[in-house]
Amino acid sequence: MANQAVLMQEEGLGHLAGKYLTFEMDNETYGLPILNVQEIIGMMPVTRVPRTPPFVRGVINLRGRVIPVIALRQKFGMESRADDEKTCIIVVQITIESYSLTVGIIVDAVSEVLNVEGNQIELTPEFGSNIDMDFILGIGKVNGRIVMLLDTNRILSTTELGVAAKSAKAASEE
C-alpha cells in the first residue's frame, strides 16, 4: 500500500478518474469502477453454501454459471437488513492473483453512473490502524456528495477467500 500511496502522491489521483457505478448503503455512497462491472441483476434466491464466512451469501445461477455472491453490508460490518425490491446484485469481474473471478455483490440499491474527475478525488484519510481501508481507492467529492471509490479486486481479497476456504478446511482437518 505504501507504494500505491507514493504513486498517488506523485501522480496525483488522476489515474482514478473515470466512471463509477454508485450505490447507497446506510446513507453512504460507494462507487465501483464501471469497467469492472459486468451487469446488474435483481435480487434472486441465493443458495447458501455451508462453511463459508458470513459475508458470503451463497451462490446463484447466472445464466448457467454458478457464481458466488457476497453481501457487502456484512463485509463492511454493517447491520444486515432484509432484502427489498431495491436490493440488487452487481456482477463484477475481479482478478485475484492470476485468475479472474465473476462475483456478485449484493447492495441495497444502485444509484447512477457518476463521472469522477481526477481533481475531485482525495486520498483515503487515515482512520486508524484497526480499520481496514485497503479496498478504498480514494474519496470522490462530486457535487457536494462524498463517494467512497472501491477497489473491486480488493473487496474479496485473497486472504479473505483464503479464510473462507481455510475455515472450512481447518474444520475438516481438525
Binding site: 445461477n61 448457467g64 458466488p68 477467500l161 476456504a165 478446511k169 475438516s172
Partner: protein, 952 residues
Amino acid sequence: MSTPTLQELVEQLAEIFVLADLTDSESKADVCAVIDQVQQHPASHSKVVEVAKAAYAELSQSLATDANRLAHAISLLDGCIRVMQEIVRDGRDPSKVILPEGVTNPPPAHSPLEVNFDSLLADFVLPDDTQSRNPSQPDPVSIEALLGQVDEVFAACTPTDLRQLATLHELLLTLCRRPELGNDVARSATSTADLVESLVLQDSGNPAADLQTVGQSLVGINKGFRGAGPDAVEVEDVAPPSQPTLQIQLPAAVDEGMLADFLGRQQGCLEEFEGVLLGPRGTDEEAMDQIRRFLHTLKGEAGLLGLDAVQGLCHHAEDKLSERPLAELREALLEAKDWLQTYFRACAGQSPPPPPPRQLSLYKVAMALPKPPASLVHDPLEDMEIGDTSNLFVDADESLLQDFVGESLEHLEAADQHLLELEHDPGNRERLDAVFRAFHTIKGVSSFLGLTMIQRLAHEAENLLDGLRKGTLRGTPPVVDTVFKAIDALKTMISSGAYPPGGAALRDLMRLIRCVRENEGQAEVAAVAQPSAAREASESVAETAVEGGGSVVVRETLKVDAQRLDKLIDIIGELVIAEAMVSQSLADISGLTMQKRNQSQISKITRELQEIGMSLRMVPVRPTFQKMARIVHDLARKEKKEVRFAMSGEDTELDKTVVDHIGDPLLHMVRNAVDHGIEDSPADRIAAGKPAEATIELKAYHQGGYIYICISDDGRGLNKDAILDKALRVGLVQPDQQLSDRELYMLIFEPGFSTRQVATDVSGRGVGMDVVKRNIDALRGRVDVQTTCGKGTTFTLKLPLTLAIIEGMLVRVGAERYVIPTMSIVRTVSIKPEALKTALHREEMLKDGDRMLPLFRLAELFDVGSDRKKGGGTLAVLVETEGRRAAVVVDELLGQEQIVLKSLGHAMRGIPGISGGAILPDGQVGLIIDVAGLLQLAQCEEAEAELVRNGA
C-alpha cells in the same frame, strides 16, 4: 486385364524409382523390369525407347558395391524418367526434348547456363532440383556427374589408399572416353589417368606430390570442360564476367509474402549460424545441435518454398554433420553459409546469383570418408541411423506435424479396421486398397515432412501390400500379422514422436517385412513386372491422388474449443429454464391463444436446441471398439485360439469424456475374455460341443438414459467353485458366509483376486478387473456379470451418457435443497425414534439389520435450520462410499432428477462435503453433496466435539 498405357508405366517407373533402394538387387530388378516394359510398349516413341535403353543399360551394369557408378546410374535414370514423363505425360514434342547425357545420341549444344543445370543435377542429393527450376527442360547428366565423382573420389584419396586411387583411375578412364569432352580435355584426362595408374601401381617416387599434380590437372579438366570458366568456389582464378550462375527461378506457386518473410529472417539466422560456427572450438555438442537445427529448419522451409538448391545443400550438410566432427566441417560450412547468403540476396534481387552449390567444398568433404555412403538417396537398411530415443519431429513445422499426426493416426485406425475385415474376407479388394491407401498417404506426407523412418516403414509395408494387390502374395496370417506390426510401429512412432525403443527393432521390422514378402511371395516376385500388375499399381496411385479417402467415409468435422461448447450448452440450459417459466406464466392466464401458440412453437425449438446441445459432446464408441477388435485378434493369434470378434451398436454415442475412460476397462475385459474366458484350445471347444471358433461380442446400446456396453464370450464361464475357493483362501469371504451368485461373481473385481495359478503376460495378476471396477466407478457407472458355466460370460457396463449430468436425489433440509448422487445412495429409510441408539450419549447410531451405522444430520453439519426435531421420527438416506456406510438425516425427499453438474468456481472450491453445484429445474442452484467428504467432515466434527469434551 488390359495392358497398361505408356503413361501409366512411366508414372509407375517414376514412383518405384523414387522409392526403390537400388543397392538392393531385387528393387533394381523391379525398376529394370518396368523400364523394359516401357521400351517394349507399342505406343513408345523412338525417343522414349532410346532413353529407356540407355537407362536400362546403365542401371543393369551398375553394381551395388560401386557407389559412384550407382550414383551415376541413379542420376541418369532420374534424367531419363523425366524425359519420358515429359514426352508421355506432358505431351511434349519428342524432337524438342533434350536427352540426358549418356544417352547414345551426341550431346546437344547447350549454353553455359544449361551446363550448370547439369552440374546441379549431377548432385544426386538434389534429384528434383531441375524440375522446379525449369520443368520443361530435361537435363543432360552424366559428364558432370562423372566430374563430380572424380572430384569427390579425389578428395578422399590419400597417396596410400589404393582402393580409392583405383576408383579414381577407373573414373578418369571413363571420362576420357567421352567424346563430348573435347580433345584437349580428353588428353589431359588421359594423362591424369596415367598418373593415377602409376600411383596405384606404386611406381611413383613421390606419391604425395603426384597426387597434388593430379589435383591440379583435375581442376584443369573441370575448367576445360566447362569452357566458360571455373565455377568452383575454392578455385582462385575465377573469371567473374563469364561466370556461369545459378538461375534463380522461383516456383510459381510460392506465395511472395511467404518468401519475403523467409528471406527477411534468413539474414539474421545466417549471422547467428556463423556466430555458432565461429564460436566454440571443438565439437561442442550444443553448437552441433544448434547447427543441425538451423540446417534442418532451413531445409524444411526451403523445401516448402521450392528452393531446392538450398534444400539440397542443407540436406547434404546435415548428412556430413552426422558423419564427421564439426571441426572438420567448419570451413566448409562457413563457405556454405556465404553461399546461402549470396543466394538469398539473389532471391531478393539484391545481387547476382551465386554459382551452383555443387562446387562448394562441403561436397568435396563428401567422400572423405572411410566408407563412402553407398548412395545418399537410397542407403540400405544397414546405414539407417536410428536414435534410440531421439525425437522424430525435431524442428518440423508444428502445425503441419499436428495435422500429420492426427490424420495419420486416423488412417492407421482405419487401416487396422480394414485389415481385420480382410482377414475374414481375403478377397475384398476394396479393403485391401483402403489399407494400401492409408500407408501410401502416410508415406507421402511423412516424406514431405522429412520423417524418413516413418516414410521407409510405410514404404516397406506398402510394398508388402502391393504384393497382395498384385496377387503375388496371399493374405496368409504371417503377412497380415506383419502388416499389423507395421501399423503398430507407425502408430507408436507417430503418436509419441519417437522411434520405438531400440532402433534395431525398427530395422528388424523392416527386414521382417522384406523377408515375409520374399518368402511368402516365393518365386512370384518376378511377376511384379507383369503388365497387369503394373497397371494396377499406377491405377492405385491415381486413385489415391484423386479420392484420397476411398471407401472410408469421411465425415466433415470441426474442431471447436471445448469451453465455447460448454458455454453454449450452459446457455441452452438457461433458455430451457426461462422458456419453462414463460410457458408456466402464460398457462396461468386465460385467453392469449395467439401467444400460447407461439409459445408452444418456442418450446419445441428449445427442446430441439437442447438435444443438439447435448449431442455436441457425443462421439461414437466405434474407434474404441475397433481397438478391441485388434486386441482380440492379436491375443487370439498369440494364444493360438480361434476367435471371431463381432460388434454391434458401435455407432452408439457417448460423451467424449466417457469414451476416453472406457478404453482401459474394455481392454482388460476383452483380454480376460480371450485369455480366461475362452477354452485353451479349439480342441477343447470341440470336445465341449462348441464350434472351434470362439466368439467374442462387443455390444453397445441405449436404455433408459444409460449406455450399456456388453462384452460376451462363449467360453467356459466363470468357475464358481474356484472363485469361492480362492476367496476363502485369501479371506475375502468367511466360511459361514452365504453369498448370492452375484455377490460371488463380484469378487473377481477385488484387487489382487485371480484364480489363475500363474500370471501370464496377458492376465492373471488380478489387477485388470480391479481397474475395470475403479474406472467404471469413477464414471459413475456399474458393472455386472452374468455367466453360465460352460456357456460363456457376459460383462455389462452401465454408464451414464455423459459426465456433465448426474442422477441425483434432491433432498430438502430446512430451506435448502441438496443433491445426493444416486450412485452413493443405498436406500432411504424412515426412522422411528426407537431405532436410534446413542453412543456416549452423543453420537447417534442407526441400527440397520445387524450393523450399526453412524447417523449424521445434514442440518447440523451444514448449519441450516431443520423443521424436524432431534430425536423425533425422521427420514434418512443410507449412503455408501468407499465401503463405508452411514445414514444422513434429511427433512424431505424431493425426488430423483437428472442434474447438470456445475463447478462452484475457484473461490468456492475445497468446501468439505460439497462437490459442486447443480442447476435445478427451477433455475436455482442446488449443492451436490460429496458423500465421502461429508462422512469425513462428520467424523472430524465428532473428533472436535470429543476434544472439547475432554478439554472440559
